[in-house]
């Protein structure tokens, strides 16, 4: 009680010292409260809701940004993987193509070599046949010439006596079957 009285005294002394007009103070306080309420009601709440909405939008945007960043990273990662895969695939394809090209070239070389061998072999056979034909013709020609010459020489050189002797001998030696 004593304490309460001392506080009231203190307030009384302060108000006396600073010249506080209590009714005015109360009226102003009420006015302030009314104004504050009106402002709160019609201005602050809208602003706050807008701010909250903005905050939410910003938060969403940040979230989206994070998500997009993550997605981008993921996409970049996937892209890298795809690129690596594509690179590997391309390398593999190129290697296969090179191998196939090498095999094809080797096959073509082998075919060409075989064809060349066949051509050479055929040419050899043809040459041999031609050589044999020429030799045969030459042999026949030489034989024909030798025989012709021999017959001419014999016809000229054999005397009638020799011809007669040969003819009689031939008649004796005729192999006549009965």
């Amino acid at each position: 009680m004593i304490t309460l009285a001392s506080v009231a005294d203190t307030v009384q002394s302060i108000s006396n010292t600073f010249g506080v007009d209590w009714p005015m103070l109360i009226a102003q306080s009420i006015n302030f409260l009314i104004v504050a309420l009106v402002i709160w009601k019609f201005a602050f709440s809208n602003i706050l809701s807008t701010i909250k909405e903005r905050e939410k939008q910003i938060a969403d945007s940040l979230k989206n940004a994070d998500r997009i960043k993550l997605e981008l990273e993921e996409t970049e990662k996937k892209q890298q993987e795809t690129l690596q895969e594509a690179s590997l695939s391309a390398k593999k394809t190129v290697t296969e193509a090179q191998d196939k090209a090498k095999a094809f070239i080797e096959s073509q070389k082998e075919d060409a070599r075989k064809q060349a061998e066949e051509i050479v072999e055929k040419a050899k056979i043809a040459m041999e046949q031609e050589r044999q034909r020429v030799l045969k013709e030459a042999r026949e020609e030489i034989a024909s010439l030798v025989i012709l010459t021999s017959s001419k020489v014999l016809e000229k050189e054999l005397s009638e006596e020799e011809k007669s002797r040969f003819s009689q001998s031939a008649a004796d030696n005729l192999n006549i079957s009965g």
């Binding site: 045969k136 042999r139 026949e140 030489i142 034989a143 024909s144 030798v146 025989i147 021999s150 017959s151 014999l154 016809e155 054999l158 009638e160 020799e162 011809k163 007669s164 040969f166 003819s167 009689q168 031939a170 008649a171 004796d172 030696n173 005729l174 192999n175 006549i176 079957s177 009965g178």
Partner: protein, 132 residues
């Protein structure tokens, strides 16, 4: 029997009538047959005459040998050939001889379808064939 077969048989029978006792063609008999055929003038006379001629030639070749000789002494060689032919066939044969210088020397004998030859030209020909 068909007409060609009849003609052939007739030609064979005419040939039989043309032979003498030795089995050789008798010229007089042949002449007589030809006169008779001309007189009778049977159907197909031309064909009969052709077949008769073929039969005569064929039969003549069985006893008539032909020799070609490549030297001037034809007589001695012909005698040897005839003796050889008759002793080999056992038949009494005729031999006509002619000189053939292309043989150079030696002889070629034809009797029927057979040809016997031993001449320088035939030996040279055989030699030429052996080279080929």
């Amino acid at each position: 029997m068909s007409t060609p077969a009849k003609h052939k048989n007739l030609a064979k029978r005419l040939l039989g009538l043309s032979l003498n006792d030795e089995g050789r063609i008798n010229e007089a008999s042949v002449t007589e047959i030809l006169v008779s055929l001309r007189k009778e003038s049977p159907i197909g006379l031309k064909s009969i005459l052709r077949l008769f001629l073929a039969e005569i030639r064929k039969h003549e070749q069985t006893y008539h040998a032909r020799a070609e000789i490549g030297c001037n002494e034809e007589k001695a060689v012909a005698e040897k050939i005839l003796h050889k032919l008759e002793s080999s066939t056992g038949k009494n044969l005729m031999l006509s001889v002619e000189r053939n210088p292309s043989l150079i020397s030696g002889c070629r004998v034809r009797l029927g379808d057979d040809v016997y030859e031993d001449s320088i030209s035939s030996r040279l020909l055989a030699l030429q064939k052996s080279f080929n």
